[in-house]
Amino acid sequence: MIKVYKELDDILLVKLDIKEASLENGDAFKAEVIKLFEKQQKSIAIDMSSVEYIDSSFLGSIVSVFKHLISFKSELVLVGLSKDITNLFALTRLDKVFKIYNNFDEISK
């Protein structure tokens, strides 16, 4: 579900390879990202540009992963959100919590 795209000094750039982010795969997403973090011990940036559909369950999984990484002084950063997902983050005010970038280049600069 997640694939490491590039490893920088302080952050891993990861691509989320699903179209539907839902109740169906939220727990698996959480488990995969936390496993990757425990192995690498770095902040993680997730490119979600392939995600066309998201529900509250998956949103909860993202927040849960975010809280886990924060507790280890690391970060979960989001990249490439579609217009609807950006709107959903604004509606839930999670856009005030997460660092959100348009693409990986903005992080690498």
Binding site: E20, S22, L23, E24, Y53, D55, S56, S57, L59, G60, S61, V63, S64, F66, K67, I70, S71, D84, N87, L88, L91, T92, R93, L94, K96, V97
Partner: protein, 178 residues
């Protein structure tokens, strides 16, 4: 003024069918929208509400099917999601009969929002969401992880839950002003 258009949908309560069900319902609603409506803006709200109503049903109702009654008029969209499954319990409220109208039960609270169930009658509650001030210190570790009710409440103009004891019927009702 055009007459309101209503339709009832009987949908499977399964994870795999949510996306196709949402597409079918959204297509029906958008086709009925009056010309004065900003279809793109309202479609986002309708879509997230439908996703969360159906997801909530799968998580909590425990039934194989759910009913959606949809009415679109010149002034609003009304969606009733009905099932005969498990009764919804708002917070610690086990019976609405013992609370006066206006009683507010805190459901969730974090540095961004407080969510309440407000008793409207002995069979109905209304969901209310309050945004916290931007100056409120944000304890990230305390962020809520359940967003379904919050999303429906914030995307709609009214969101209520009613339980018909005699029929064992749960009804979640959403109004969106146009």
């Amino acid at each position: 003024m055009a007459e309101p258009v209503s339709k009832q949908f009987l949908l499977p309560n399964s994870r795999q069918s949510i996306k196709s069900s949402v597409e079918e319902l959204l297509d029906f609603i958008v086709k009925q929208l009056p010309d004065h409506v900003n279809k793109e803006a309202i479609s986002f709200k309708i879509e997230v509400i439908l996703i969360e109503l159906l997801t909530n049903g799968i998580k909590h109702a425990g039934t194989k099917e759910t009913f959606l009654d949809i009415t679109v008029s010149e002034k609003n969209i009304h969606i009733d999601k009905k099932d005969f499954g498990n009764r919804y319990q708002p917070g610690n409220i086990t019976s609405l009969l013992i609370y006066d109208p206006g009683y507010r039960e805190l459901l969730t609270k974090d540095g961004l929002h407080s969510m309440y169930a407000v008793v409207e009658s002995d069979t109905q509650i209304k969901f209310v969401c309050e945004e916290m001030d931007d100056d409120t210190p944000l304890d990230v570790g305390n962020l809520m992880e359940h967003f379904g009710l919050l999303i429906i409440t914030k995307a709609s103009d009214s969101f209520t839950y009613e339980y018909d004891i005699a029929k064992g019927l749960n009804t979640f009702s959403v109004f969106i002003e146009l």
